[in-house]
Amino acid sequence: MPLADLANPHRFQKLARVLIPAFAVLAAILIAAGLVLGFRAPADYQQGEMVRVMYIHVPSAWLSLGAYTVMAIAALGTLVWRHPLADVAGKAAAQIGAAFCFLCLVTGSLWGRPTWGAYWDWDPRLTSVLVLFLLYLGVLALLRAIEDPNRAGRAAAILALVGFVNVPIVKFSVDWWASIHQQASVMRLDGPTIHSSMLTPLLISAAGFLALFLALHLAAMRNELLRRRVRTLRILAAVSAEGR
């Protein structure tokens, strides 16, 4: 099937009907396996048992950045090609990405208190993730503030694209500035620095979170398509009632 065909809303609906349950089942299996292996893995030699938070914090952080990247690509689709499915994809990614970004901030804060002695610090990594969360909220606020979904989608797409500059800042903040947050230990040019007993459950858990994101994203896109169809039918019904 050509890739362009998948962008057809009708074909998308058919594909989503198959993919949503498949990704949901995969997510349940992988997250359960990742957490079981994660709790069986040895405690960290410095952080002790607190390292268990890594198996939910790190996947949430990766998905915060991943969902924003999806939103920025969708924004390009909205602004350049004006494709309605791109607009729908962007809106769905914003809602779910905001939830994962919230989880990243909260679990990080709970990890930080025993490790750094504080729930919060105006550190480059923490601050740039907070900015990412505020960008998500800004995009969602714009989508809700403008009644016409096409105009709202274009306004939100501009903000999403401008805000994308923050994504590399989040990623490299720990390298560019002095930070209390540890440096990257998985996605490094010289390979991961975590022991395999912790790396394996982390990657399995991250794969599960990704599958969950895909299931939720497809489901939210499907809902948004239905919502737009409802809106169109209501407008048509109102117009035909006026014509009588």
Binding site: F39, A43, G48, E49, M50, R52, V53, I56, H57, S60, I96, A99, F102, L103, V106, T107, L110, W111, R113, P114, L212, L216, A219, A220, R222, N223, L226, R227, R229, V230, L233, R234, L236, A237
Partner: protein, 50 residues
Amino acid sequence: MDLGQHAAFIIAAYAITLLVLVGLILWVLVDYRAQRRMLDELESHSPRRH
């Protein structure tokens, strides 16, 4: 399993994650049912297309 002296922080992190993820799942399910119901209602009142 002994989670040590900081067990409360670990449990809180997992509990909040569970709450948010279950919330997300419920949100898409409830929203789907609501949109489907409204669409079915509107389509039953609108003239059929041939």
